[in-house]
Symmetry: C2
Subunit: 218 residues, 2 copies
């Protein structure tokens, strides 16, 4: 196993260097880059679609979407925004900085206010890969259970904001909101936590305001 660990360390280091370069480019271009990580099925795409519909009248937006297979998510998101690209990873369980760099080819970052990056649905592996994003958002759906942050601490540790999605299903799923907040805060004290429902719109105003507050002053 030692050799694998060494090679992995080297690859992670290469990723960090590349991610730093991306971060510099994003900052110089004045684009706010937000990435989203979660389990499969926690509602990343639906949330993003709704968010982009809200932001697009006032802001210039693009999105990158990672999946092992299919271009379904890009097709869904392109209803809300014209600049969307799917990154199909094959058997790779996460996005990395190189994939982002490649997917951006031909886009003028200066013409964007927001770039959203939806990672592959996976609560483990994406945590180790910096994508050069300004803010990383972890989503946890009300149907997944309150203890997920305790069981997948690394991904919550590397994120800046937690969104509890599908909050409209909280009662049906017997979701314990207080326990969920406690779990998140025990793993990442002081983390910003918002409850949202893409379906009913609950919490969407607050989330939109939070993201707009991250934009560089014009």
């Amino acid at each position: 196993m030692t050799r694998l660990v060494e090679v992995r360390s080297r690859i992670l280091k290469e990723n960090d260097v590349l991610a730093r370069g991306l971060r510099d480019r994003f900052q110089q271009a004045g684009v706010c880059v937000i990435s989203f990580v979660s389990s499969p099925g926690s509602g990343k795409t639906t949330f993003l679609e709704k968010l982009m519909f809200r932001l697009s009248p006032r802001h210039r937006i693009a999105a990158l979407v990672g999946d092992l297979a299919t271009e379904n998510d890009a097709a869904r998101l392109s209803r809300a925004c014209t600049q969307v690209r799917q990154i199909t990873t094959g058997t790779i369980c996460h996005l990395d900085a190189k994939m982002i760099d490649k997917a951006l080819e031909g886009w003028r970052l200066e013409d964007l206010d927001f770039l959203f990056i939806e990672n592959v649905g996976n609560l483990v592996c994406p945590s180790g890969y910096d994508l050069g994003e300004q803010v990383r958002v972890v989503l946890l759906s009300a149907t997944e259970g309150e203890d997920k942050p305790l069981k997948y601490p690394t991904i919550f540790n590397t994120a800046d904001v937690a969104l509890i999605t599908k909050i409209d299903l909280a009662a049906a799923a017997e979701f314990d909101r207080e326990a969920a907040h406690r779990s998140i805060l025990s793993v990442r004290p002081g983390m910003k936590v918002l409850e949202v429902s893409a379906k009913t719109g609950e919490g969407m105003d607050e989330t939109e305001a939070l993201f707009e507050s991250l934009l560089a002053p014009a």
Copy 2:
């Protein structure tokens, strides 16, 4: 990347050899080994707990449970069965045959009818690691969305049975059952698919009967 791929291939090959040895041991001992894979939060532990409560009056059962951190799942499962061990993987996103081999130390396999293995919640990485199991079950919850099999085809391809869990939440989540079955069968034609709810008990009789049918004749 070439070197990483080579090292990964070697590690996967070592895992296959070890898994084959485990499979032989399980067969000789006459224990039916069933593993469970799914996203985080699809209800593996709740389902297993209910299943084990049903099977334990008539069968001798043990369980291994994988998680990055915490021993919560082992504590929950030990209410239904006395022989439970947690495998804590740290940052590793899947179980492998070596971990199974080590976790079995001191257990007499001959004294067991069923050994259940709950993998780390991850729809990607566990697919590549044979654990020597007789049957691999993939769980997909009604709240995750119908397209998950299309987006994570490998894990569905390597599984033998699909369980659609939390079927009691189907209406609230606007889950399209037919689309889900279609997705599963398009990725893995002929796959056995059952709908279950650990909460209401729906589908549990059928699942129990399916697993009992796998036992070697006494």
